[in-house]
């Protein structure tokens, strides 16, 4: 009886896992199947031309810009905020409010961030449609992600490290940057990876704040088009599925590279820490 039930459940578990893997393989497979024909050196490293042909280098550069700037701003703020919530704050109403705020931020659809960014950063702060406006908008989008994951990884740092350090007559701050942050680093990095994914995958919010200019950005105050926005436009306006898929391939590879780099760094850091 129990055995039969066990076997059925086991079967279901295998089935679900199979289904998940199958679906995911299908999606990636489809994107590669559709897009691989367009992939070439010129496609990836060529400049874009509106009259057909041309490459997507400007979009790749823009994508990297947005990732770099958003993370540059969001990472310190996010980590320090998490440090405050986890290490400094007396758990109470203020902390709960801040937690609630960050949690609610994760639940807001990105189109709403886009609208906000378009009015606040683009118009009110007069940044114009630009990489910087988009990056600031993205900063707000990923801030909660970074805060949450950092908090979680701070939680896993053994209390004994804190005690050991403080008992040596060090300050909280010293303990923090010498002992706690280094050992929380792998977790923090995985939060950053997640954030990168979110930034790369975003379209609605970027579209409304950075615009869609398909040219190499002169500076971070230029309007520009990220890879994801490009694949979005190509799908919606031109209906060119193959091109969208080809851009998708580049995106997937980019995500893969960034993930591997981060994992590598995290391993390195871990080794440095032993």
């Amino acid at each position: 009886m129990r055995k039969l039930k066990d076997n059925i459940l086991l079967g279901l578990l295998w089935f679900a896992a199979f289904l998940t893997v199958a679906v995911l393989v299908m999606i990636v497979g489809y994107i590669f199947y559709k897009g691989i024909g367009l992939i070439s050196f010129d496609f990836i490293f060529g400049d874009y031309s509106p009259s057909g042909g041309g490459g997507i280098l400007p979009m790749i550069v823009t994508t990297i810009y947005t990732i770099a700037i958003s993370l540059l701003i969001a990472t310190p703020i996010g980590i320090l905020a998490a440090v405050y919530l986890q290490e400094y704050a007396k758990q109470g109403r203020l902390v709960n409010t801040i937690r609630f705020a960050t949690e609610s931020l994760t639940g807001i659809p990105s189109i709403i961030y886009g609208l906000f960014g378009a009015v606040f950063f683009v118009t009110t702060l007069k940044l114009g449609m630009s990489i910087i406006a988009a990056s600031l908008t993205l900063t707000i989008i990923v801030l909660p992600v970074i805060i949450r994951t950092t908090e979680e990884s701070l939680k896993t740092v053994p209390r004994t490290y804190r005690e050991g350090s403080l008992a040596l007559g060090t300050t909280k701050l010293q303990t923090l940057y010498k002992v706690i942050l280094p050992s929380a680093m792998p977790g923090i990095l995985s939060g950053l990876i997640l954030s990168m994914g979110r930034i790369i995958g975003e379209s609605a919010a970027i579209f409304l704040t950075a615009g869609t200019v398909a040219a190499m950005p002169a500076s971070i105050f230029s309007s520009a088009r990220t890879l994801t926005v490009h694949s979005y436009l190509v799908t919606q306006e031109a209906g060119d599925i193959e091109l969208a898929a080809a851009v998708g391939i580049v995106l997937i590879v980019l995500i893969l590279i960034l993930n591997l780099t981060a994992t590598f760094i995290s391993k390195k850091l871990n080794k440095a820490n032993y």
């Binding site: 007396k90 053994p158 004994t160 050991g164 403080l166 008992a167 040596l168 060090t170």
Partner: protein, 260 residues
């Protein structure tokens, strides 16, 4: 300096605790604890689990400050200064070192672990640091075992070695008092023996307060023993006396293994 007889009785009183009460939120964990701890002696704290030994030990360097909702009243004087009246916890903790139950080395090299405290005090000079590290590791009777691997991870050491490096880390701060909370409970017999020998040799220079669950250990290493029960000190006396002819029935029950 190391000769006890030179000190007057007053000087010998390194730590004086009077009517100390401690509460975790509503719950009282220490009741009217009074005890005088003499300089350069080893004082053992024994008692059944949950009786407040660790709690008391941690009041001595104000580690309980880290726990939310802890309230303390009473008087605790170290070297004539009420440690709960000062704001300079850093100074207190530099003077009163601590070794924990489980070796809690940081995930760094052996060298960096021992140099950690001095560095945080602002010592940057390489030669000076080297000297401190070597002296401390020697003081903790671990130098010979680790001198060839100072730059490798401290976490690769055995439990007993780690615990001695922890002691070295504490010594490196040149403290006057060293608190130890069941420092050998996670160790194997051989390591335990080494740490015990170390404690015996360290009392020439340091005032040591040690919590232990192990009656034999208390008997072996300490000069004085305090028996805790339910947050109170039932008896505090020469170790010999506590183990051979305690004056309280409960102490006797405990040390003869009638409970716990």
């Amino acid at each position: 300096m190391t000769d006890k007889s030179v000190n007057t009785t007053e000087q010998q009183k390194k730590i004086a605790v009077k009517d100390l009460n401690l509460f975790y939120g509503e719950k009282q964990a220490l009741f009217d604890v009074s005890i005088d701890i003499k300089e350069k002696e080893v004082t053992a704290l024994i008692g059944p689990s949950g009786c407040g030994k660790s709690t008391f030990l941690r009041t001595l360097n104000r580690m309980n400050d880290l726990i939310d909702g802890v309230k303390i009243n009473g008087k605790m004087v170290i070297d004539g200064e009420d440690i709960y009246q000062t704001n300079d916890v850093i100074k207190l903790r530099t003077k009163v070192g601590m070794v924990f139950q489980k070796p809690n080395l940081f995930p760094m090299s052996i060298y960096d672990n021992v140099a950690y405290g001095p560095r945080m005090q602002g010592i940057k000079n390489k030669a000076e640091l080297n000297k401190i590290v070597e002296e401390s590791l020697r003081g903790a009777a671990i130098w010979d075992e680790v001198k060839d691997r100072l730059k490798s991870s401290a976490l690769g050491l055995s439990g007993g070695q780690q615990q001695r490096v922890c002691i070295a880390r504490a010594i490196a701060m040149k403290p006057e008092v060293i608190l130890m909370d069941e420092p050998t409970s996670a160790l194997d017999p051989i390591s335990t023996l080494k740490v015990e020998e170390l404690i015996a040799s360290m009392k020439k220079e340091y005032t040591i307060v040690i919590v232990t669950h192990n009656m034999q250990q208390a008997a072996r290493v300490s000069d004085k023993t305090a028996f805790f029960l339910n947050g109170e000190i039932i008896e505090f006396d020469e170790t010999n006396k506590i183990f051979s002819m305690p004056s309280d029935q409960r102490t006797e029950d405990y040390v003869t293994g009638r409970f716990g």
